[in-house]
Amino acid sequence: MERSEIFEKIQEILVDALAVDDDEVTPEAKLIGDLGAESIDILDISFKLEQEFGFKIAQGELFPEGVTQDPEFVQDGKVTEKGLATLKERVPHFNFEQLEQDPSVENVSKIFTVEALVTFCEQKLQTA
């Protein structure tokens, strides 16, 4: 499946799950910041992706869980090197450039963009 086709399907899913307009769902849009997603929406989106693309998503595979609560991974409000390495391992579809420049913990959710979601689905489809 072409990346543009994946994007279109994801756009439709996000419009439905988050009650946003088509034009708000740009590749750069952040799910948690710009599109107003909450943690339960991640589950909703996972279910919808599974139905649309026919693959299974394991718990924590789409968006990291527990990393920001772990004192080993976050110290003084910043993601540690170990935390960053763990994130890269668990959610390789994210672009970590911004987080590497400023590892503040509040920046973790900002790396969850529509683009990352497209990459996630692309990778899942390739390995399916």
């Binding site: 943690s39 339960i40 589950l43 279910f47 139905q51 718990q59 968006f63 527990g66």
Partner: protein, 173 residues
């Protein structure tokens, strides 16, 4: 008053679907407040839409809870869709049919159909589909935020046990 918005479970296919009914009664206080008469309008007693959503949430919630023997704390997390096209007035019966769409350790999504059965003189009214309510449930102890909750299952209370029992469904929780 117990916060129970279904009267009886009439069908339960574990992990698949559940059907429950609710009789709308003039004896229920809320129908008098929803809506009372005004100087320009007659009273319009009807089942509030929000409580129809709650009725479906209880139907689907019991179905999801039953799937794991009521060990999970199943809470309504999101109303994905709620459309109801007709009023349910006193004397009518609402029939909720919930089916499990997806089920994981974190939660479940359900699809629901609301039917309205108007009473008839011979006692057998016809059912009309009046709405669709799709819901998302979270298993609280597996929440993504890692928040801890009390061990006791405060979701499935005594009222739910009574509902199962009076519906003739075995429930050991």
């Amino acid at each position: 008053m117990r916060w129970m918005w279904i009267d009886r479970i009439v069908e339960l296919v574990p992990r698949e679907r559940m059907v429950a009914i609710k009789h709308v009664s003039m004896a229920e206080e809320h129908v008098h407040d929803h809506f009372p008469s005004t100087p320009t309008r007659k009273a319009m007693p009807m089942m509030p839409m929000s409580l129809i959503v709650e009725g479906m949430a209880q139907t689907a919630g019991v179905l999801v809870g039953h799937a794991e023997g009521f060990k999970e704390k199943v809470v309504l997390a999101k109303v994905s869709k709620a459309q109801v096209s007709r009023e349910a007035t006193p004397g009518s019966t609402l029939r909720y049919t919930a089916t499990i769409d997806q089920f994981t350790p974190i939660g479940a999504s359900t699809k629901g159909v609301v039917e309205l059965i108007e009473p008839s003189a011979d006692g057998g009214g016809e059912a009309e589909v009046i709405g669709h309510i799709d819901l998302l449930f979270s298993h609280l102890d597996n929440n993504m935020g890692g928040v801890q909750y009390p061990q006791e299952n405060f979701v499935f209370s005594e009222s739910f046990k009574t509902l199962m029992q009076t519906s003739g469904i075995e429930a050991d929780f």
